[in-house]
Every structure is written in C-alpha cells, then in structure tokens.
C-alpha cells in the first residue's frame, strides 16, 4: 500500500527537495498520491495553512479566497500571501491568536479541507507522483529542518487527495504523521475519540494516528511517551512517522510487519521504507543502514 520517508537535520537545508527525491525512489510502492510535511523556520505572527478545495479543479478558487478573506477579517486576521498548487491553496494568515480561531473561521467555508496549520508546518499532498511537485512552479517553502513524506497505493473509489498522507489532526498545529500498514482496531479507537469531541474527516485508519497523537500531545505528554502508549493501544500492522515542531519520531509494530530502514550520520538522520530512497540523497553506494527491531520507538528532538 505505501512507502514512508523522513529526514531530521541539525541545520536547515533543502529538506523539501530531499523528501521528494526519496519519495520518487519509493513510488513503485504507491503510485497514486504523494505528500510531504515540511517544518521550516517558524513564523511568529503568522499561521501557515494549506487548504484543499473539494470538487472540480479551477472552480471557485477566487470566490473561495474572497470568502476566506472576509471570514478572517471578522477575527482580525488577514491573508499575507496565497498560492495555488493543484486543488490546494497555501495561505499565510497573519493572526496573533490561537490556531482554533483561524480554523474556526475556515469552517465557515464549505467545500474545503484543512490539510495543515502551524507556525512551522506545511503539508502538501496531491494526486499523482512526486514528479508533479518537483516540476511545479508553485511557491512552497523548500528549506527546513525536518520533514516526513509518503507515497500511497489507493484503493478507494477514485483517488481522493483528502485520503493521502501526511495527516494532521484537524486544527491541531504543527503535527503531521505518515503511516504504512493497517490499524485493525481503527473503529473502536475512533469512536472513543469521537466521544471526547474529536473530529474525523475521512474513514482512513491513518488519520486516526494523527488524532490519537494530538489528544495526548495536547495534554502535554512527550512524543516518546505518546508513541509508546500508541503501541499499547494500536492493533494491526504499522510503521508510522510523527513530526512536530520540535521532534521527529517513529514507531514499529511488535512484529515489524512493515519495513523501515534507518541511517544516522553526522549531519542528519534519514529513514525510509526502502534503502533505495536513502541512496538518492546520500553520496556513495554503500550506506550504513540498519533496520530497527520490531516494536522500536525512537524520537529525535531539538
């Protein structure tokens, strides 16, 4: 079904491009949709958001933008810049208050999905291969400190970009996950979270991981502890990567059913479903990769 990739760097670099290079190498595992989540230098008075326009491409972009401007003005925010890629809008929203206020005003608009909101985070995902974004002239922040990416083999009706990874938990800022595998107790866990008021926007089991993490991270738990708790609660197969403003981590299921290769060196930590992905961004033929043991959780933090 999928391939995942992640990079953690000590100093900012062209992480966006590196992720795309890795994902291109993994595309045979998931040719249908591709996505990246990039963490770049944080904005202080601005929220970076990515929104998806549902429906026919090209329809209503300008009307929607105007509608968003109006809704944001009502909370005292305004749009610093807007860019288009496929059916998505990248909006930089100048607003000093809470992210929920921003996402709350977005809810006013029908026919839109919120892919990400954050001081650092941008989630860009689309139907098609990694090549599409590489060749696109659209504006997106290519420099960052860390990020994760995903290629997907879709099995639903028509390939829906809202089902593509990375996922965030609606309105929770600066959190992204990518997942390879299948959470078999998805419905049970989802119902529990819905009962607590959390919202789901797809029936994709990977979205659950983002929502689950957002609850505990929101309560102030450290990513490492949350990932361990996730292992106790999730049933099924998984290798998933989770990234926040400060951290990047992964968790593998107890049987290690989905592969993960890890490479740690001087300047960076890179991980991917297959070594071929790492070959693209590192010099030399023979890398010192390891496959972490099943059941491993690891987190890198600033």
């Amino acid at each position: 079904m999928c391939g995942v990739a992640g990079i953690w760097r000590k100093a900012p670099a062209e992480v966006g491009q590196e992720l795309l290079t890795m994902l291109e190498a993994l595309q045979h595992r998931g040719p249908d949709s591709t996505g990246i989540a990039l963490f770049s230098s944080p904005e202080t008075h601005c929220w970076k958001t990515w929104l998806h326009l549902k429906g026919e491409s090209g329809n209503g972009f300008d009307e929607k933008l105007a509608g968003l401007k109006t809704a944001l003005a009502e909370i005292g925010g305004n749009i610093r810049s807007s860019d288009r890629f496929e059916n998505c809008i990248r909006l930089q929203v100048e607003y000093d208050g809470r992210p929920e206020d921003v996402t709350g005003s977005f809810d006013v608009e029908n026919g839109m999905d919120l892919f990400s909101i954050g001081r650092s985070l941008e989630i860009i995902k689309w139907v098609g291969t990694a090549r599409k974004l590489v060749k696109s002239p659209s504006t997106w922040e290519r420099t960052g400190t860390h990020g994760i990416g995903h290629v997907r083999l879709a099995t639903e009706s028509h390939v829906e970009v809202s089902h593509a990874h990375p996922f965030s938990a609606h309105g929770y800022p600066d959190l992204a996950i990518v997942h390879n595998g299948q959470i078999t107790n998805y419905y049970k866990l989802r119902r529990r979270l819905e009962a607590k008021g959390f919202r789901f926007f797809t029936d994709n089991d990977s979205e659950l991981i983002a929502v689950y993490l957002s609850e505990r991270l929101g309560d102030g738990e450290a990513l490492n502890d949350v990932l361990h708790q996730a292992q106790a609660d999730f049933d099924g197969t998984y290798t998933f990567l989770a990234a926040t403003e400060e951290s990047l981590g992964f968790a593998r299921d107890p049987l290690g059913a989905k592969p993960l290769l890890l490479l740690e060196c001087e300047d960076l930590v890179a991980m991917a479903t297959e070594e071929i992905a790492l070959q693209g961004i590192l010099e030399g033929e023979t890398l010192n990769t390891i496959e972490p043991l099943p059941g491993t959780v690891r987190v890198w933090s600033k």
């Binding site: 592969p259 297959e274 070959q279 890398l287 390891i290």
Partner: protein, 225 residues
C-alpha cells in the same frame, strides 16, 4: 570479468543478460545497483556474480547454482527459496533472509532482520552479526548459525531444523528448546566458519520441542489408525 552497468537498464534485461552468461567462467560484476529489487533471481548455472553496492528485495531468490556476492546491504528476502548455490551479503540483510531455502548457503556478514530463515527446509543460513525477531519462525529443516545475539522469539513454532547461537538469546519462541550440542555439530560448525573466514566460538543449540505439531486430542475417525 564481465561488467554490467545497472543504471539505465531494466531489471528484466539485467536478469536476461545474467541468464545468458550461465556457463561463463568469468566473474560478472554489476555496478550501480542502487538498492533495486529482484537482481539475479531465477538463475541456474554456475555464474559468479558480484554486486558492487546494495540491493533491494529478493536478491538471489529462486536461484539454483550461482554464487552471488553483495558488497553492500540487502533488503527483505535475500536468497528467497534458494535451491542451491550461495548468496553472500557483506553488510546487513533485512527481514526474512533465506525464507523458504531448500538448499545452498546464505551468508550475512552484518545483521539479519526479523523472521530470517522462515519456513526454510534445507541448506544453511549463516549470520555473522545479530539475528532479528523470531529468527527461524516456522523452520522445517536446515540450519541457522548466528554468531551475534538472537532477538526475541528465536525458533518460534519451528517444526524441525537446528539453530546454533554464539551470542545471547533474548528469548526462545513457542515450542523451541535448547538442547545438547554434539561433537559432530561442533565439527560441522568449525568447518563452516573456516570456509567463511569467521571466528570459531562456543555455541548453544536450539531445536523444536515438537509439542505443537500434533493435536492433543482427536475425534472419531480422525484418530490415527
């Protein structure tokens, strides 16, 4: 020495070329493998193939005869269902190394991933480093030799076969037990390690307790005559 540059070649064409060289006496070296999948699968012949770099899944899979050496890492399923011949990986191998082996030898100089040797029937899987979770899962015959440590679940549900471990064993799998190592075993191990230029050391032996592979009760006509 025959050189094949893998970059820009389809995997199918590489394998066809290797197949055409099945009786060559010269060594064949493949450059720029870039961790791609399915190199050198389904070959029967006496080729000596060196892969100058890392490979992806199933390198040396379903082969019957050739000697294959990977200078870098191998991903999942190296020596998949090997019939005879040798597959050597100089660095690490991923999960299910040697799955379903029916003969021949697989050697991993680095670490091997989980369920290495799963369902193997014959042949030898030699791991110089550590062996992953549930190594020897559902083993039916053959031998696994581990010079490093073995992770949890060693020999899980093994039916037959022998696992020799020099390093620490995190835990034994269901129906796997430690047993006495014989002098014949020691001689065989010594010969094996000499051949692959690895240090001889003391081993523990793990086999099947043979408790899981019969139902405890039978009804009516099921009862063996």
């Amino acid at each position: 020495m025959v050189e094949i540059d893998a970059s820009g070649m389809d995997t199918a064409d590489i394998n066809l070329k290797l197949h055409d060289l099945s009786s060559t006496q010269e060594s064949i070296i493949i450059r720029h493998p870039e961790a791609r999948h399915n190199f050198a699968v389904g070959l029967d012949g006496s080729q000596h193939i060196i892969i100058d770099g890392s490979v992806g899944y199933f390198c040396g899979g379903l082969c019957d005869g050739p000697t294959i050496e990977v200078k870098g890492n191998a991903a999942w399923g190296m020596a998949d269902n090997l019939m005879s011949g040798t597959v050597v990986v100089r660095q690490n191998a991923g999960s299910v190394a040697g799955i379903g082996m029916r003969g021949g030898t697989g050697v991993v100089y680095g670490n091997a991933g989980s369920r290495s040797g799963q369902a193997m029937k014959k042949g030898t899987l030699l791991i110089a480093g550590d062996a992953g979770f549930m190594t020897g899962y559902f083993m039916i015959g053959g031998r696994i030799v581990i010079l490093g440590g073995a992770a949890e679940g060693l020999g899980e549900c093994m039916i037959r076969g022998e696992i020799f471990v020099a390093g620490p064993i995190a835990s034994l799998g269901q129906d796997a037990i430690e047993t006495e190592i014989s002098d014949r075993d020691r001689q065989w191990l010594s010969g094996l390690l000499d051949r692959w230029q690895l240090g001889a050391t003391t081993f523990r032996k793990v086999v099947s307790a043979e408790g899981l592979h019969h139902y405890e009760t039978y009804e009516g006509k099921e009862r063996p005559k």
